[in-house]
Symmetry: C2
Subunit: 109 residues, 2 copies
DNA sequence: TAAACGTGACACCAAAAGGTTTCGTATTTA
DNA sequence: TAAATACGAAACCTTTTGGTGTCACGTTTA
């Protein structure tokens, strides 16, 4: 069974609150209540967001006493990066074409 | 006013149907009904997805006779790439550490 | 000109998303 | 031991999302 990935990484990352959570966890592991302090939102709401991130395997949580400490696992983001790579060439071509055009334009004046 | 970006690029890209649309448009411009042929979904649904992509400035549509031809604009994806760059170092570190570990493990046997 | 085609604009709908509050329970702390 | 803390789970609510079908209208085509 494992952690049924009900949510994929694209959807997990689509929400701004969840992106802020990832950024906080990139700095260091934090307990749920610490994370909650950074938002104008209930603990339950933050917990649900972490649940979604967890289903995308972007975070994990371990219990420590009465706290639950969350930890970042950025690896699944590689899927997004790989997906982007396909489109990168398109906008790079456009940038190159623009650069070429500007250079030509400069030399014409 | 311009095209009020009601949807950001992260959300636009979160839906698998919309990602498929982007991929089709990466190959060449296509009319709405051509795009629709690739999906098991109504034309109206596809049109709405294109609307969302359009609000994220990822596609544009021009009218040609009775057709509406859609075109890809991949530039906004750069925002996603920039966002990813921040996390890239994390998983690269992990990959390097793993590689190092494996190499050590190999030499130990 | 009549019929077929491609689209936009609506109205509508079910399910999912993103929140809330409440309550129970384990763990610390005073 | 009593109170405070941190959390999970459940019930609930509103808005958004992702889809449908229908109708009217301009554009082609026969």
């Amino acid at each position: 069974m494992s952690t049924a990935p009900n949510h994929d990484v694209f959807q997990a990352v689509a929400d701004p609150t969840r992106r802020r959570l990832l950024k906080l966890l990139a700095q260091n592991d934090r307990a749920l209540h610490e994370l909650t302090d950074h938002f104008d939102m209930s603990r339950t709401a933050i917990s649900k967001h972490l649940q979604i991130l967890s289903e995308a395997n972007l975070v994990s949580g371990r219990k420590s006493g009465r706290n639950k400490i969350y930890h970042l696992h950025p690896e699944p983001l590689k899927e997004v990066k790989d997906w982007l790579a396909y489109y990168e060439k398109f906008w790079e071509n456009k940038i190159n074409m623009l650069k070429h055009y500007v250079e030509k334009d400069d030399s014409d004046h």
